[in-house]
């Protein structure tokens, strides 16, 4: 059993004990995940890229918690949808490697800047 599987099982138990499965539809979990991702962005919003590399201990601790929330909702959503997260991530890396060949993508993120 991988660590993500073990997180998944803990979250199942957590939700079952509280009778929360009724709230945890994929739609609601996807909304909750987007909310947490935005909370993770919030402390960075007025910082320069350079400043974001040197967070205060207080901000770093807050950011760590928001990252945890994102992971927890992602694992829970994957469970509800029957998605193997690690497998999905590995396939996406392969896909990205084809989409951004080293020679072409070097030092540029063009795709993203032309929307």
């Amino acid at each position: 059993m991988t660590e993500l599987d073990s997180l998944r099982d803990e979250l199942r138990r957590f939700s079952a004990e509280r009778d929360w499965d009724q709230f945890h539809s994929p739609k609601n979990l996807a909304a909750a995940l987007a909310v947490e991702a935005a909370e993770l962005l919030e402390p960075f919003q007025w910082l320069s890229s350079e400043q974001s590399r040197q967070l205060s201990p207080q901000t770093a601790a807050a950011v760590r918690k928001e990252m945890a929330d994102v992971l927890l909702y992602l694992v829970r959503l994957a469970d509800q949808l029957g998605v193997d997260l690690l497998e999905a991530a590995r396939s996406k890396i392969v896909e990205n490697a084809i989409k951004y060949p080293v020679e072409k993508a070097k030092g540029s993120m063009r795709k993203y800047t032309d929307l």
Copy 2:
């Protein structure tokens, strides 16, 4: 080495080969993560909670890719910030268990509805 560590290492290599570290500041990665989380929400936005439990194969495949993107940016951000994601997630579960005691939280997500 856990699977998340191995994903982290693959992403390091991927970024180094393309000279993308310059773009991968925590601020930028947090923004990219929020964008991917919203792309994951998009296919659910007009569905009812019930419909979101029964996605078409096509939508399910698209959702799986967006989930992969969220995980990849999260792992990459954790690497840049020196955060141990699994440890952070486990601490957060403990914290949540205190915040939502079983007897009080049963069948209700009150905290969220009073904003």
Copy 3:
């Protein structure tokens, strides 16, 4: 002068007085806007669509404030980018009318569900 122009002018003054123009790059304002939009989503995340039509006075007041924040950042961003919001919105309605012809779009939001 329209009301949005007058909001824009108030925000200019507000920011100038506080020397905040340095923080208000389009990138930062777009991030702040996304954060506020997610805060607006938060009180809805566990509600059913039906429940979301009947908010408690407390939640309704909180939602109203988040809507104000979204509008304020949007007006500020439009100012920084020289965008006429009303004109942009009117063009978009025309575009949408072509994209979703009445006979085809009736009772369905298909485009959105196939991602």
Copy 4:
């Protein structure tokens, strides 16, 4: 009748003609708004703050459309919730002026960086 009122009326007609009111619950509209706000953030995600002040014509045009989408969903949501957007925005400016007194807030956005 203000311009926002007139946008609101056009959107009412647009939705009624397509029988879309059934999809436009506050919950769904808030999700759609968050998705559009993230799409607006996307073209900025890898840019520096400086670069975000000088968009290519192509990116500027795409950004303008995303801003329109945000405004349209915001106006539609306000209509469903009976919120007067301009009034809400004006109250929020007054509130912000109290929260960020000129002398204290000058040149700093501290509140945001301590999360």
